[in-house]
Structures are given as C-alpha cells and as structure tokens.
Symmetry: D2
Amino acid sequence: MSGSTLGKLFTITTWGESHGKGIGVVIDGCPAGLPLCEEDIQIYLDRRKPGQSRFTTQRNEADAVTILSGVFEGKTTGTPISLVVYNTDQRSKDYGDIASYYRPGHADYPFDEKYGFRDYRGGGRSSGRETIGRVAAGAIAAKLLAELGIEIHAYATAIGPVTIDRNRFSLEEALNNPVAMPDAVAAKAAQDYLDECIRKQDSCGGMIECVITGMPVGIGEPVFDKLDANLAKAILSIGAVKGFEIGDGFAVAGSCGSTNNDSFVMKDGRITKATNHSGGTLGGMSDGSPIIFRAAVKPTPSISSTQQTVNKSGEEIDISIHGRHDPIIVPRAVVVVESMAALTVLDLMLSNMSSKLEHIKKVYS
Amino acid sequence: MSGSTLGKLFTITTWGESHGKGIGVVIDGCPAGLPLCEEDIQIYLDRRKPGQSRFTTQRNEADAVTILSGVFEGKTTGTPISLVVYNTDQRSKDYGDIASYYRPGHADYPFDEKYGFRDYRGGGRSSGRETIGRVAAGAIAAKLLAELGIEIHAYATAIGPVTIDRNRFSLEEALNNPVAMPDAVAAKAAQDYLDECIRKQDSCGGMIECVITGMPVGIGEPVFDKLDANLAKAILSIGAVKGFEIGDGFAVAGSCGSTNNDSFVMKDGRITKATNHSGGTLGGMSDGSPIIFRAAVKPTPSISSTQQTVNKSGEEIDISIHGRHDPIIVPRAVVVVESMAALTVLDLMLSNMSSKLEHIKKVYS
Amino acid sequence: MSGSTLGKLFTITTWGESHGKGIGVVIDGCPAGLPLCEEDIQIYLDRRKPGQSRFTTQRNEADAVTILSGVFEGKTTGTPISLVVYNTDQRSKDYGDIASYYRPGHADYPFDEKYGFRDYRGGGRSSGRETIGRVAAGAIAAKLLAELGIEIHAYATAIGPVTIDRNRFSLEEALNNPVAMPDAVAAKAAQDYLDECIRKQDSCGGMIECVITGMPVGIGEPVFDKLDANLAKAILSIGAVKGFEIGDGFAVAGSCGSTNNDSFVMKDGRITKATNHSGGTLGGMSDGSPIIFRAAVKPTPSISSTQQTVNKSGEEIDISIHGRHDPIIVPRAVVVVESMAALTVLDLMLSNMSSKLEHIKKVYS
Amino acid sequence: MSGSTLGKLFTITTWGESHGKGIGVVIDGCPAGLPLCEEDIQIYLDRRKPGQSRFTTQRNEADAVTILSGVFEGKTTGTPISLVVYNTDQRSKDYGDIASYYRPGHADYPFDEKYGFRDYRGGGRSSGRETIGRVAAGAIAAKLLAELGIEIHAYATAIGPVTIDRNRFSLEEALNNPVAMPDAVAAKAAQDYLDECIRKQDSCGGMIECVITGMPVGIGEPVFDKLDANLAKAILSIGAVKGFEIGDGFAVAGSCGSTNNDSFVMKDGRITKATNHSGGTLGGMSDGSPIIFRAAVKPTPSISSTQQTVNKSGEEIDISIHGRHDPIIVPRAVVVVESMAALTVLDLMLSNMSSKLEHIKKVYS
C-alpha cells in the first residue's frame, strides 16, 4: 500500500512522476451511462496547467488527456476509466544536483528514509504534477454530480496578506483573473504582491474556499466516514495544504452554543436552517445548507533565494533552487480542491444509496 | 457501509448507542505479544468518563471496560480484541420529547432523512458516548506505540476566549486541572468563564493541541494516505471538531517561503530541522520533528436556554433542552484526540513496514 | 489486519474464541428499516448449535444471541448491529494438554509460528465456534434478501461414501434428518455410516450443495469481485472446506464447448437459459438462472484413535484426542454455507446499486 | 466499485478492453528496491500471448509492455507502477454483429442488464485480454517472492479427457510443449485431441495445477482472509474457472479423519508433515508443506458450430461465431494462474509482517 487509491465505490488510483513518461489515473466504479469525452476532462486540466500567467511555472506542458478505456460510443461503460497525460517537457538535467541534498519544505528527506532512495527529478512522485490524476478524475465526478443537481465552486480568499472583501464577492470574477479571486480589487492587489514576491525571489501562501450546493440531506456516514472528515482528508492530501475548516471553523473555539447553533426554520414548506455556522453538515452528514469549507495553502517551498540545508553525506550546505517554479500554489490548486471535493461527495453519495431498505427496493423492483 | 470502521491494518470497528445496552469496539489487526489488561484501557476511559468535575454531565457511568476476546495469559493473541462498556445509567425518559423535533446543532435531522427514522434516546449513535470505543482502542494503540518509543499528548490551548500562555506551559499541569490546560493560570480563568456559561445556560467552544514525539522518519504514504491527511480525517471524525491544522496551520496563508521553510541542520550527527513550521510532516510523511496539530471544537449544542427549531410535522417551535449536558466538550475530548492520533499513527506505521524490500527481508530471514 | 472483516458495504467483523467470554459479530452497513428481532437470528443459530443429534458434540451451549446495538423499536437503524453469544460451557481443563503439542489437521502449529503463541483452549480462534458470528450475521442478510425475493438453501449431497439420489430430492427432507440430506434413504444410510465411524473412533467428510434463487441478472463485478469468486472465498473461508465448484464445476474439464454452453431461449416473454451448466453466472455476474455451487468438507480432524505428532519441544509423540467432537462437520456446516452465501450475495447487490446512472437517479430524485 | 482492484497491501488495479486503446494495470504498494525492467515482465506476458501454437488465436499481438511509472534507475521506487500494453491488432468489424445478440457462455447478457449497454467488441472488458494486467503484475510479485525463496509453478494436468501420468511428471516438460503439460506423452495425446476439436468446430476444457514452494509457516489470516480462501477467490476470478480445490480437494468428501490428517514429524531437526493431504494449509495458514491447488477450466465458449440464442429484440436465432478463437483456454491460462497465486501469496506475506510485536520491533529498531 503506497496510498495511491482513494474512495470506496467511486475509486481513483493515481500514478506517475513529474519527469517520468506520464501521469495518470484509473477510475473504478464510475456508473455506466454518463456521457463523457476527453474535452469534458480537458476543461478541468486546463485550469491547472502551467503557463497561464506570469505567476505559474513556464514549464511548457499541454497536459492533454487521453481516455484509454471505460468509454464506448460517448458514454461511460461502468468499467475502469484509464486516463493518461504524457509528460512532454521534462528537463531532468535541471534537477541533477538536487539528487544529492534535501530541499527545505520538500519531501526529499522522508522519501529517502522511507524507501531507501528516490526519483529526485522534479520532485518525482511528490511533484504538484501528481494532482493531474486527481483533477482528471474530479472532472468526471463533477460531471456526474451536475447530473444530480450538485455544483462545486472553489476560489482564493487570500493571497499572502491580501484578502477578499465579501461585499464585492463574484463567483464569475474568480474565473477571470489569474489569482482565482472572486473580487476584482483584491485580485489586482494580490498580483502586485506576487510581483513583489518574485522580485524578492520568495513565494507566498494563501487560502482557498469551496462551496457545494444542491446536496441532498443525509450524505456522509455518522462515525468515521463523516462528510467533513472525508473532505478534510481529501483536502489535506493535497501537497501544500496545512489546515482545513468547515463552516465557522476555528472561530467556533471562541463562540457560544447559543450563537453557534443554527436554528431550524420552515421556508417554502421545507425544513432549512436560519444560519449556516455549521457549514452544511451536522453529525457528519449534509444538512441541506451549502457545504462551505476552507483550506490553508503554504508558500511554494522552491525559492531561488539562498537557503540552508544538508546533503546526503550529512554536510551542511547553502543552496539556491533555480528552475521553473510558481511563486504561489493557490491559483492552480483551486481546481484541485474542487476535484477532491467532487470525488469525496460522489463517493459518499454512492455509499449512501444502501442506507435504507426503501432505496434498495427502488433499485431492485 | 455505515462508516464505523477505521484503519487498514490496525482496524477498529465501533458500535453502540447512548441508551442501548452498551458501547463497544472490535480491534482487528493488533499484533500478538503486547501485554494488555483491562486496567491499561480503563486509565484512558477514566479520562473521558463523566462526572469528574462540575463541568461535565452528571450522568453516572463507571464506564468499566470488559475484554471479551483477543487476550490470553496477559498478552494480545493477534486475533480480534472485543471490548465492551455496558450502559448503566440510561434515563431514556429524559429524551422522549426530542423524538418529535430536531435539536439545533445536533444530527437529528440528517439522521431522519438518511435512515428514515432514528434512535433518538440521548442522540443514539451520534452521542458523545460513541467515542468510548475510540478511546478504548486508542489506549491499546498508545500502549503499543510506547513500546516503540512514541508518545502522544493532547491538552486544551483555549476554552472560549481564554487561551494559554506558552511561557507557563506545563504538560503535567494539563492532567491536574479539570479543563486540561497546560497552564494553571489560564485553567483558573477558564473555570471562571465556564461557571459564567453555566449561569447563562450556555456553552462554549475551545481548542485542543496534540504533540507526537519519537516518530521514525518516513511514516505516512505520499499521496492520499498522508500522515496529516489521515490525522485530519481521524480528528474531524470526532463529533464536534470543525477545524484541523498542522504546524503553522492557517498562519501559512500569510507567510513566505523564506520563513515557512524549515532548514535542515545536523545535530549530534543526525539530520534534523532548525525550526518546525511544518509540524513534523513533509510531503505527508513524518520528518523527524515532533508532530504538532490543533483541533477546533464547537460549543456543546445542547443548551437549556430557549432555541427555535421545527418538529417532524414541519411546525416551528421553541424548545429548551434539559437533561445532563457538559457546558464544554473540550476537557473530555482531549483523550479522544490522543486516541485518534494513536490509532492513525500506528496504522500508518504498520503499513509502512512493507515500504522497502530491506524491511521485508528483515522479517522473513 | 487479522482478516476478521468481510464485505465492502454489508460488512461483518467477527470476534471471539472457543473458550473465551463469548463469540460475536459486528455488522456495519445493514440498511435501515429491516424488521429484526433476536428470534430471527436464533432460528439460524439453532441450526448450527451442538447437541441436536448423536452426531454432534455434546458440549452444552444454548448459543443464545443478544442484540447489543443497531436495532430500535423492532427495526434496524442503519448503524452497526452488535451481536453476542456468551460462552457458558467452557471446560478448558479438557484442553490443558494440547497446549504442549500440535494436533494433526488443526491450526495449532501455524498459529504458534505466526503469532508466537496461541490460546489453545478448544482451538481458540480456529474453533468451529467462530462460525457463530457468521451465522448470526448471515441470518440478517438472508432476511433482507428474502425481502427482495431471493432464497438460499443448502443441504448435504454426500456423507462419506453415501451420496443422495437426485430422483428422491426433497428440500424439506433436508430439514427433517440430522444429516441435512434432501433424500430420506440416503440420510438413513449416512447415519449408519456415521455410527460406524464413531465405533472406529474415526470421522468422515462430505459435500454441501447450495442453491440461490430469485437473483436479478447482473449481480457480481466483472473482474476480481465476480459473484463466483467472492462465493469461493466466502466458502473456502469456512474452516474445513477444501474445494468449491459452481455449476458443472470440475466436470467442465472434460466437456466440450458445444455441450457446456447454455443456449439462451425465450420463456414467457423473458430471456432465460435452456440449461444451467454455468451454475447461474456468466462472466462473474448472475445470469438469471439459479446459482448452484458445491463445497467439499474434510473429516473432523479431532479423532480419538491414536495419531502421531510432535510437541513444542520437537519430540515425536503419540496422541489420542478426547473431548467433545463431532464425527462429521457437514450437518452443522450447512447453515454456515447458507450464511456465507447470503452475506456474499447481499454485499454484491448493494455495490451493484451504483452500476448505472439510471439507478442513481432512481434513488436521488 | 466495479471490482477491478485486488489486494490489501500489494494492490493491483486493472483496466482496458479487448478492442480499446490498450490494457493495463497499476500496482500500488510494491516495496521499493526491487530490481525491475520491462524484460522481467515481458517474459511472463510472452507465455500468455496469442499466436504461439496452432491452438491459440491468430490475433497478431506482440503484447509488448511499457513501464510508465514507479521504476527509477532499474529499481522499484515504492510508488505506483503503471504498466500498459497497447492493442495493435483490433479488428472490431469482426464483432459488429455480436452487438445485437447474446453469445452463449459469454458475459454479454448480464453485462447489458447490469450496465444498460456494453462495449461488445471482442468481449470488451470480459475478454481474455483482461488477464494481461494480471500477468504483468504477477510477474513483479513472482520476482519479489523469488527474492524470498518462494517459487510458483503451474501446468496443465488435463486437456479434455487426456490426463497426465504422475510417474512421467516433469516440470521442465511443461514449458516445452504447447499444451503446458508436465508429461510429454500426455501432451502429444492432448494435441491430437485438440486437432480433433478444431475439426469439429468445437472446444474443450481442462485442469490446471499449481505448486508453491518455499513458503514460511503462518502466512494467511485465520478467519476470512485464509490463504486458501484468498487463493480460491483469485483463481475463480479468472474468467473460465469453474472450480478450485486445495490438497486432496473434493476427495476429502469421501475420506476419513484417520487418513486425511497429516501427521507431524521431525525431519532434519525441523517440524514437517509426513504427508500433505492438506495441500500446505492448516486453519487457513501455510503449514510449511508445498501449497498445491487445482483449477477446473471450462471450454472456450466461442465455437464456430451452430448455436441457439436470443437477440436484443427477444427473438430466438441461430448463430455461428467466427473470428479468431482458441479451441482451449488452459495453455495460456497457466501463467495467469501462476500470476494470481503470486499476487495472493505476496499480499498475505506483507500483511503478515505485522502479526506480532517481535516483527515490528525488527523493522523499527
């Protein structure tokens, strides 16, 4: 088990290294009958591919996806869907020297200790390119969820010290600027800040928020496979994420029951909540309100300013990492967050199908 | 699948409702040869059992554990360990009325939607008593980890608005006061605050921090089963937790790569890190520094002041929840956090055993 | 992982030793809304409990089941169902001497090698009593399947050299005689043969057949989780089973395609098969015909005639095993086979629910 | 879940259709440090590839494997190994007509019922070509097992009515004749019989035996994940297998305890068994004797003589299947059986590593 599989019923298994032959994913358990073509997936991959702004690596990859199996006559067949993106712009020679030392903030050192050695080229398996498989699979999950009326949107709420103003919130705007912020003013300030980071040969962190609407009530399992617990795992499994919160999140630590509880009220003849401090889950299950969660993303660890580290011979050395690196991870990670959310929600929706006898009789009658 | 099983190799399956016959857990995959008796487990359970201070429910439960299987002549046999705590102080009549409406902040409503009905007595499966199984299993995991030199300690860093002063930090102190704070001054202030909450018929949230020391380097799997990802899931699966962060956590959003990266240095001939912004993980694997994470815990949703909600007939009503409830969840949740951490770490340590051929040859030679 | 959990969605975890405090099972994933009481389960347990004829051990166990969780107001709640049967007639002293040597045909030797030591009392975890948990869970699975029109019946087709005559086949008769044979004449001959075995202080093997009717078409997953593959695992996981075949089974080795293929024909406007050489599966999925499989069961290894073995000191010794043993395993194993079949079929039916988008829309609309 | 993943720690996920772009497998959990190149895998694939004798389909496929990930500088890295064999000789037009009807003995009908439609070209996912992924993964498992001194050999013991003579048994011979029989005389007779089958436009079944040597004692888990149970599942998951038996197998039904029990004896200072009726397992764990099991393989269902069936419109029709088909499945299935055995044994050996504390301390000290 090297932990490259996620999900119980809609299961994805990713593979590939940054500078190997390609990156891919096998999706097992995709229901049959979903219309699917490569373009459906490419749209998602294009949102994370490099070279879209001056804030992303200039590695020249089209990240073009090929469907190798599981789709026939334009529809999923119910059998495994194998997707591959071949690597085309590997400049492995850029990485020759990093074989000998451990980059701060990277997985190099634990990788060597765990496995005895590592594919050091571009971070190998721990490269951000590993997320290609997640996004490709996430595109399919999102398409299937859309058929059920469920929509997922993520965006940046903070880039370094620059945060959005909720009064200017526009989901559309988040798709129009290179920092994925739903606030044009903040997006401008964030870009200025990033230019400064580049000048200082430094990088910065940020925050991503994600909203899921249209969920039926009761999705998520009451004990370990809570909707929020599975989301937390899925989001923390993204390389640079260091924190996850849902609803009021860390603010609940300072709040009171009387303010934190969301009252139930009737609206248009349906049960709903007057507020949404819970972020759309109660007892680990969806409660009918939008799911809202946030992820804290650390600064890109690869920076060209000088850093102190040790090499494999145990000598302390100074290094400066050159190559093609993003000064910030957040904008390209937004679609990764959406993808992980889609995979998590879909998997729990499928397992929820057998929650009651009534459902089973609907299918088998 | 109702999601009551956790872990791949050291697997726990919990069962039981608040007012059913008992609460229990089956541990499958505990290695043979670990000395184990009921007292080892009882020590942990006693840290979460009610009635230890004026800040916990006065439900009178000894929470005495019985080992039903898997231990012979004082040692684990390698077969499933079945543990049970029989419920003794069920006052189900206290809960008769809650059958008809949905308590704010509780799982009642999604439970009914998911399953069609629910065991409403004391929250049924969504009661805090469900964590008894986790703590009983966690005690065993912690004992096994101790044999490998790994220690886990959790404590409260915030109770409502009261936070600890790191200059007064004392791990011992956390075991001496009823709010589990490692700072005697803050603990006193926290108790005053809680008394005020009780007077106001309200409840409050708080923050728990957990530190794991003695971990070998390389524990955790690089992609989905990252150490931090699995910890996040385990911690968010605790009923009232709304946020998880590791190392600098949410603060990374505002930091720079040059400050957030931890330099590697040599110390006593071994590779170590000069700082620990990462919280002890790199690329999802342990990096040799202590693992440090925090969880945000929401206020107890059961409060006796008046709240607005709806009943099963779709009528808006006012309710006031009486019964035996803690004004704060944090103190009793501290040992639950430790337990979930122990279970997560141990499971990943067992799966890491087959990470390299060299390990396999050590076992089979 | 000690392999005590089976199933993906309808998951059972068994625990307990022959001479420990009890034997039990936790069922996770039972859909909510199934009417269930202890009597439903007891009926199944009574079919395997000892002392029902002169051919079973005289150990005096009522094997009375208690439901500890997961059932409320007479229906399953969707949460884990914990079942326990307390051991009442442990005569551990009978087994003191077997601690020191390895019984032929038993698991003693590999158990010691695997775990370093073993609970030797009555075979510990490898006792036939371990199947109590399977049967208790199987009773629930069978009840749920019955709601969907699926019936499962097993019976003995051979006891030692005595085999049934298909012309005298009567399913009812199998419930009327102590050897579970669906042929009264063969049953009589079998009992005579068993009396002879007892006189010779020997034991004998036999064959169990199982038929499943009412299955929808398409249950089972096309590659590894084939219906027949999962059945084979489930049946071979019963202690004494040494062979499994489905449909024509081993006879296919000598047959031709032209005779082994089952033609499809129309009957009453529905597609059906003219013959059933396949035993009801094609490509690992149910094909609409009855599922028919057989299991070969070895003779009880505990016999009182003298046998040669070695002790833990590596000395060759002669032993004679006394105590309370069945001269044949088959009659009591019949209900175990039915139970394992029910568990396997139900689990695959639940996972099949998400096989196509059409099903998903039925549930979520 | 479409059941395309097998294994807990050494996990394989296969994908691909007969006439899609290719067939592949992702292996997750292969330990790091195993020397591996494409040739290691190709040797296994060449044993199952078509066109090697007049008894196999004349479809012209090189079945050349490419390693896409997980190997660096000639060794496995511990990350997922993605293997692909691109299809090159798809003649999909051969299959146009089978879209409209259900071939006897094939998965067509249940496939349509389960998924709503199917990729009918060459059997799609249910084609024998699906086993390419198993064999490619099995080659790696077998190489790793060889490092631990474990060898696996399979061969045909029966082709239609022709069976081997154990007195002429030669493992080497099985690699020298096109029917994989370890007896030159029987192999000659089998070929004559197959020529006759071809003349009659018919096909035949056969039997495969497999022997595993060098196993440590205690591999396999005592309850559901018994070594024999997992082998049974793995072997029955091969398309055409209809029966599995271990050791004396079905013959135990007629035997007595006194003859079926294997006595333990001392040999060269080690515990061993005087006989091996058990086939190398006791209580589901390896007992130190060679593991011996057999699989019954049905005749190729595709035959060119006329057969009766129904079409999708529910009309009874006569068909004659032309195209490129093997008159017997057995010879090419031999390496599939070896591969499935290797995968099963290795996975259980890895999970057995954490069976006792002593093992854990060996790895973490």
